[in-house]
Symmetry: C2
Subunit: 302 residues, 2 copies
């Protein structure tokens, strides 16, 4: 069976989501996003799920290459693609190929990266970072990937030197949904001035955090100033803790933000006066560039 070189499939398979793109002649010709995240799947059902999702893109005459990164390569995922250690060159990311029964495609799952001193791990973000590095091989500075587990990553000459992960997005979600604040943060809107005030409060005195959270509930009970304010402040307190903790990565540095539009705009809004320069990129764009980079490098090696 011939291989299809002009056509390949990119997969971003995370804890909660499955995202996939059909690439033809370097362009996205189709895409899928579903909730078939790693955490909802049994080990035995990964291939079945993948085939079901990408079936419309498969052909009987060609073996198409599927390149994936993210939690699909974790111990709890399809197959473990062991971590590469920092400092780590982003042009040499290894992959593992699980045995595939379906002969219409092959699959490569790329490794994550781990750090021993100040233990930390990433899976998926390294691919987005590689996408940025592909176009900016001489970048020296920090990359931030805000989200459920926000990451701050120090980059030098195409290498990840070190990084720190913050549970900012996850804390925001579980405090909003599972704590006594549930009744006070129902709004979906953010007031930027309230958020910035909360960031500043934390910058001044980070130890107010635990009390500041309860104050939101108490203020709501006493003054009922509207859940938009409390949600904005909750977000600000969490972001403030992350930013103060990652000062070494951004203060007077060149930084790159990779994420979804709302988050990278928000981080830019908070940080733009405090850093040397900011550039913003979308996760999806960087993921595709990163996987393409890995794909090209692989072909060179073999």
């Amino acid at each position: 069976m011939k291989k299809s070189f002009d056509k390949w499939i990119a997969v971003d398979w995370g804890t909660s989501f499955f995202r996939s793109y059909l690439i033809e002649k370097d362009q996205i010709s189709d895409s899928i996003q579903t909730k078939d995240g790693m955490k909802f799947l049994e080990k035995v059902s990964f291939e079945k799920t993948l085939v079901k999702l990408i079936e419309p893109w498969l052909e009987n005459d060609y073996k198409i290459e599927v390149l994936a990164s993210g939690m699909v390569g974790s111990k709890q995922g399809w197959i473990e693609a062991s971590y590469q250690k920092t400092p780590c060159n982003l042009n040499r990311i290894e992959f593992i190929s699980p045995t595939i029964k379906d002969n219409r495609f092959s699959l490569k799952i790329f490794s994550g990266i781990s750090q021993s001193n100040k233990p930390d791990v990433m899976r998926g973000e390294e691919t987005q970072i590689a996408g940025f590095i592909y176009d900016n091989p001489k970048f020296n500075g920090s990359i931030c990937l805000p989200g459920t587990h926000s990451k701050w990553v120090k980059i030098e000459n195409g290498n990840i030197i070190n990084f720190k992960t913050y549970m900012t997005g996850e804390l925001f979600e579980i405090i909003s949904k599972n704590s006594v604040l549930i009744h006070s943060v129902t709004s979906n809107k953010i007031k930027k001035n309230e958020l910035i005030k909360a960031v500043d409060e934390i910058f001044e005195k980070p130890e107010i955090f635990g009390n500041a959270l309860f104050q939101l509930r108490a203020d709501d009970l006493i003054n009922s100033r509207g859940s938009e304010i409390y949600k904005s402040k909750l977000s600000g307190y969490l972001l403030g803790l992350e930013l103060l903790g990652s000062l070494e990565f951004w203060q007077k540095k060149d930084i790159v933000l990779i994420g979804n539009t709302d988050l990278i705009d928000l981080y830019e809004y908070i940080l733009h006066k405090k850093v040397n320069s900011i550039k913003k990129f979308l996760s999806k764009d960087m993921l595709l560039k990163g996987l393409k980079n890995f794909k090209n490098k692989l072909y060179k090696v073999t």
Copy 2:
């Protein structure tokens, strides 16, 4: 119908639990603890629930007095017993009596306390504090009530001057149960040396918090050092944030701890070298003393 003076019922009706004590001649002669917390009950089912629970203690010849404090008096509870404001004298706590259909008992639900500047609220803790003040009317110092919502309270001459609530216990629970740490903090044991190390780390740099949490997960993935360590450190990070944020209440002060044995012992262990003096009391004992104090004061007033 005659009133029974020698016999009364004390009720601690919180968000998650119902606790009640039958007091005869100043001694507990029976007690109940169930999970009929305020959050599980509809407004209309409070009386039915109370009657069902205390039925064995009711008599047809005497109207017995039931004294309650806690979230049962909140907006979401049986009937709202409005907040009294700080500074607040603990010998003058007001009560509200809902209409009771059953003529074998009367019910008084005591007010909580609120603070306008730096918004905060308490319901139930004021009764325990009143219990301590009953025996120690001249105490000047701070009272800490560790728990789901830990409270630090400044006391002067029988008055609550101000207080701060920390979501320490609740954050510990939701992070343990609802975050990515769920797999790493399964142990029920605490290693005190690991906990103290984590407290010290936060005292030195509170802004590490968000990253320190994720490091527990990463360390488990990389080094698998056992969930006892990660649980102890999670506890230490949260306690560290609370204690650093409440420094003004305990540093070189006389402090009183009111809570369950495990928690007050733990707080004593962390704080004993840093404070002027520590005394420890059980919540239940202080609650009963507090309600008895309220009961006596009420009889004097009417």
